[in-house]
């Protein structure tokens, strides 16, 4: 199970998690991007950029 890069809490990934999905640490709320599903790897989520949107 991957751990939070900030507070070391366990981050439980859902069975249908996708690479590229953003997940939150349940303890400290830091956002991470799922870089790999198998093996599970997290990195800090990218910061919102000026041209982000819909």
């Amino acid at each position: 199970m991957p751990k939070c890069l900030e507070c070391d809490a366990d981050i439980r990934l859902k069975a249908d998690v996708e690479s590229g999905e953003i997940v939150d640490c349940p303890d400290c709320g830091t956002e991470f991007e799922v870089r790999s599903v198998d093996p599970p790897q997290l990195d800090y989520a990218p910061k919102e950029e000026e041209d982000w949107g819909e």
Partner: protein, 286 residues
Amino acid sequence: MRLGVLCSIVRTEEKLIFQALRARGVPFEKIDDRQLSLDLQARQLPWDIVLERAVNHARALHTLKILNDRGVPTINTWDVANVCGDKVLTTNALVQHDVPTPRTRIAYTPESALATIEAMGYPIVLKPAVGSWGRLIARVNDRHAAEALLEHKQILGSYHHSIFYIQEYVEKGGRDIRAFVVGGKTICAIYRMSEHWITNTARGATTANCPVTDELDAVCLGAARAVGGGVLAIDVFETDQGLLVNEVNYTMEFRNSIGVTGVPIHERIVDYVLSVGQAQATTATR
């Protein structure tokens, strides 16, 4: 059919689309724009059709242009993304096609913007031409606020904040409408409600189902035609003078609209993508 889905981070919307494709047994390639390296000298690209779901407007815009110029159909097209990604171009397209929209003017200097605002009367709304989720839009109630905002934009803003998009303030009674158009059909709509004058769900607005009346359908289809059609979210104000189209979004988010409308929007998007891909394949084999 070699289907690509252009994206970077995977939002709930992309996840739903991926799941819908897998449930139908449709193979696809997730094209992460952060890892993309496009050869501009290449005449052919390895996709037959691409669904654009990128969160970055600039990356989407460039990629769509390169794809379309090499004969790869995309949803949406570069033309649609170009118009919808810039509020000036969107409003211009709506007006050119006689789609009702709030009164809007643009100016290029703080001085001419201030004169424009004074002429239009307060309150007005200042928006960046490129932007989303209600960010950096400002309701300007008086000359003091206008002067301060324009100075801040001039000194702190990036170059596109020097295009002053000035829209009349529309009293919308605490809600607006977001309608979803897919392939020339208004498939559903929601009310977005907030005590704040900004009613984006990204800013905390709540939602409820909005019936698609004949009037709403006509306005939304008119707006969709004006910007070039495809998969679109149309933001609409209800006013005493009738419905006014505020904005049109080309990489729409819809996670908050499936439950309240009961319409599986991701499935309708996949239906449309596959129909465009099949039509393209049929044309190519003739």
